[in-house]
């Protein structure tokens, strides 16, 4: 998992064992009955201790959702989801979870091993055990100090969280769960929640608005440069990621924040459908950098049991000269359906989208971005690298639009696809709409295959076939990898190699 070196050092500096308070709330073991109705939503809201306005907001979203049709315009296909056959509020991973690693898909375990994940961490990722629960492996004297630090200490030690919180508080940065924010900072939540992705936005976002159970909240005050990279990693109770996450990040005037989401280790989850919403708001001269490494369980060899990842991510460059940058490495999930987008409202604001989307086996990806130019002199840049292997389908779908008032809007788009083998497919669907004569949009697209000559050249130098594929692919995605924070970049490169194993030969 991507514990940055800084974190590991910091954690190591603290005597972790001294702080073994049972601070991780024992999450309620009860769950809401199956299905979705107003009572279930009221139950969720009550469990979260929310004020009335929040419940009203949820209910309004729910009533709207009832009138919406599930969209079917993407290239992905999946069996029809029965929304009344899902649990919307449940204690995480207690029932039906594997009892030990012996019951977990051996392929998944092999991958963990390749990524160098300690056994105890594997248990958590595979859903055998929750954070903070004792492991049977404790007895065996399995010792990996970094494993402990990365998981148990960071998540379970109140001291560490406090250390980070102290430092953030000194800077005036608010970083907490969305539920906590609703209780502690209602004025901010009220002001910004749903202003980028309104409750009426789309089927999945509307569903999320009605039933979201957790997520992150960040507020960076004016002129503050957030002193560290924020990561879901540091948030307590993270084990309860839930299927409907809601994240809201606000960078006030002149501030800067970098946020990391996800994890390079494949995570298994009981919840097959994930429909998160992420809203970013950058005011005048503010900058938000949002990086994702998504490696949810893609399913077994036949693609069974994999996660459906239907996410709405959108950033609003609300202020002048503001900037929002999305960087994503998508390797997991059975189906990925997401378009992190930027609304370039403020004059001279800038949006960026850097993406690596890898599909192997039976995975399906339909991903891309939208850059909506509203303000004068706005600019955007899209670099998308799609890699398809196995029998997968990899679609880039993007929209660049300039409205009449977006004078001198500029966009540069580069979409490259790389095919490995002859059973996969890559599709590029760019939409470009310019309603002003002064816009300048450039689009470049390439599709290539890893050539036999390239592979032979590497192998003739002693590099094995799989390593050669990883090397060539890492070369192909280099422009995007460079956008990731350093620690993430190293892990992402490793992950790319692992994701493509078995894709040749």
């Amino acid at each position: 998992m991507p514990a940055v070196q800084e974190t590991i050092d910091r954690v190591a500096a603290i005597d972790v064992d001294k702080y073994k308070y049972g601070f991780v709330t024992d999450i309620e073991s009860e769950k809401a009955p199956k299905g979705l109705n107003e009572e279930v939503i009221a139950f969720i809201s009550a469990k979260k201790g929310e004020p009335q306005w929040m419940l009203d907001w949820r209910l309004e979203a729910y009533r709207r959702w009832l009138t919406l049709e599930e969209p079917d315009w993407s290239t992905v296909s999946y069996p029809k989801i029965d929304y009344n056959d899902l649990y919307y509020y449940a204690a995480p991973k207690v029932k039906d979870a594997p009892n030990s690693l012996d019951e977990v898909d051996p392929e998944l375990l092999r991958t963990y091993e390749k990524l160098g994940i300690p056994l105890k961490e594997q248990e958590i990722l595979a859903g055998v055990r929750k954070q903070g629960e004792p492991s049977e492996l404790d007895e065996a004297g399995e010792s990996n100090p970094y494993g402990r630090v990365a998981v148990d200490a960071v998540f379970d030690s109140v001291s560490v969280v406090t250390t980070f919180k102290d430092e953030l508080a000194k800077a005036g940065v608010i970083f907490c769960s969305i539920s906590e924010a609703i209780r502690e900072h209602p004025e901010l939540v009220k002001q910004y929640l749903g202003t980028v992705v309104p409750t009426s936005d789309n089927f999945f976002a509307t569903l999320n608005s009605a039933v979201f159970t957790d997520g992150s909240f960040v507020y960076v005050p004016p002129g503050v440069r957030c002193p560290m990279e924020l990561s879901t990693y540091f948030r307590i109770n993270e084990q309860n990621t839930g299927q409907f996450e809601r994240t809201l990040i606000i960078a006030d005037k002149g501030s800067y924040v970098s946020y990391l989401e996800g994890c390079t280790a494949p995570q298994r989850d009981e919840n097959q459908l994930h429909a998160a919403v992420v809203e970013l708001i950058a005011l005048d001269d503010a900058e938000i950098k949002y990086s994702t490494v998504q490696n949810w369980y893609p399913g077994d060899a036949e693609g069974k049991g994999g996660i459906y990842n239907f996410v709405t991510k959108r950033g609003d460059c609300r202020g002048k000269r503001s900037k929002i940058s999305w960087t994503q490495v998508e390797t997991g999930s059975a189906i990925t359906w997401k378009y992190p987008s930027c609304i370039l409202r403020g004059e001279e604001s800038r949006g960026e989208f850097y993406s690596i989307a890898i599909s192997n086996g039976h995975q399906q990806i339909d991903s891309g971005t939208k850059m909506i130019h509203l303000g004068k002199n706005t600019s955007s840049r899209i670099i998308s690298k799609g890699i398809a292997a196995g029998q997968s389908l990899n679609t880039y779908r993007g929209l660049v639009r300039a409205n009449p008032r977006a004078k001198n809007a500029r966009n540069f788009t580069q979409c490259d696809s790389l095919l490995i083998g002859d059973k996969c497919a890559a599709v590029t669907i760019p939409y470009v709409e310019s309603r002003t004569g002064t816009a300048q949009f450039e689009h470049e697209a390439t599709t290539s295959k890893i050539s036999d000559d390239q592979l032979f050249y590497c192998r003739a130098r002693g590099i094995g076939e799989e390593e050669a594929v990883a090397l060539i692919v890492n070369g192909f995605v280099r422009d995007v990898i460079q956008q990731l924070p350093m620690e993430f970049a190293v892990e992402a490169q490793k992950l790319i190699g692992v994701s493509l194993e078995g894709s040749v030969g």
Binding site: R459, R461, G462, I463, G464
Partner: protein, 252 residues
């Protein structure tokens, strides 16, 4: 070191199966430099590719032994780790992969395959600097993606630099002189000559004699019609330069 016996090999192309090597014999001992000369289409590059393990050729008869091992049973990367190096006629571009990264990956993969410890970054930097200096390769070139946008001379120099770094036992040079001007030819040849040693052998594949002015061979073989039709000392190369391949084409 290398023993090729009665090698027959064919390729599959649009028009069916075509036999390219038709009973080739060749023996190379440690420290020897052999030159293979011959007209276009004689099977020179096929020989180099089969030694290195490229796909697409079917060996129908005969054997290739390298250090007593059956070479034909080994994967290309295993051959490289065992000490075979092919300097490509057309080095391949790998976009986005810095030359330095490529070299480090290759060197450490070979070391790992041989059960040796991977080089640390400082150790590797030292090794690569030594090899680069020898071939006049600048640091700036090591940071560029391998072979991408390199001139013909830079590509060939890069090949020989890799050879210097990887320290193979048998070096196969496939038309290394093609596309080189006289200055580049001299630099490349000097690089090759500096690697000559009693333990290291060379197989120099070339169409022209001029490379052999710089890299003096111990033996010269004429490959025509899929077989070695004549062998001799360095003087044979001079004779070919004067008289051409015509008589061998007829003979084949």
């Amino acid at each position: 070191m290398l023993a090729i016996e009665n090698l027959h090999a064919s390729v599959e192309d649009g028009e069916g199966t075509r036999e390219i090597l038709k009973g080739l014999d060749l023996e190379i001992w440690p420290g020897e430099v052999h030159a293979i000369m011959g007209p276009n289409g004689a099977g020179k590059s096929t020989l180099g590719n089969i030694i290195a393990g490229k796909d697409g050729y079917e060996v129908t008869e005969g054997s290739v032994k390298f250090l007593e091992e059956d070479l034909l049973e080994m994967e290309p990367e295993e051959r490289a780790a065992a000490g075979i190096f092919l300097a490509f006629q057309y080095p391949v571009e790998v976009p986005g992969v810095a030359t330095m990264t490529f070299l480090k990956t290759a060197l450490n993969a070979q070391r790992e395959a041989r059960g040796e410890k991977a080089l640390s970054t400082p150790e590797f930097m030292k090794a690569v600097k030594g090899a680069a200096d020898k071939l006049g390769v600048k640091q700036e070139m090591l940071r560029r993606p391998i072979n991408v946008g390199f001139s013909g001379g830079e590509k060939k120099r890069n090949e020989i630099m890799q050879m210097a770094l990887l320290e193979p036992k048998l070096c196969v040079l496939d038309e290394t002189d093609s596309g080189l001007d006289i200055d580049a030819l001299r630099i490349v040849s000097e690089g090759v000559n500096s690697l000559r040693s009693p333990e290291r052998s060379f197989l120099v594949i070339t169409h022209y004699q001029r490379l052999l002015d710089y890299i003096e061979p111990d033996f010269v073989h004429v490959l025509a019609g899929g077989k070695i039709v004549r062998s001799g000392g360095p003087e044979l190369a001079k004779e070919l330069e004067a008289r051409g391949y015509a008589e061998f084409l007829e003979a084949a």
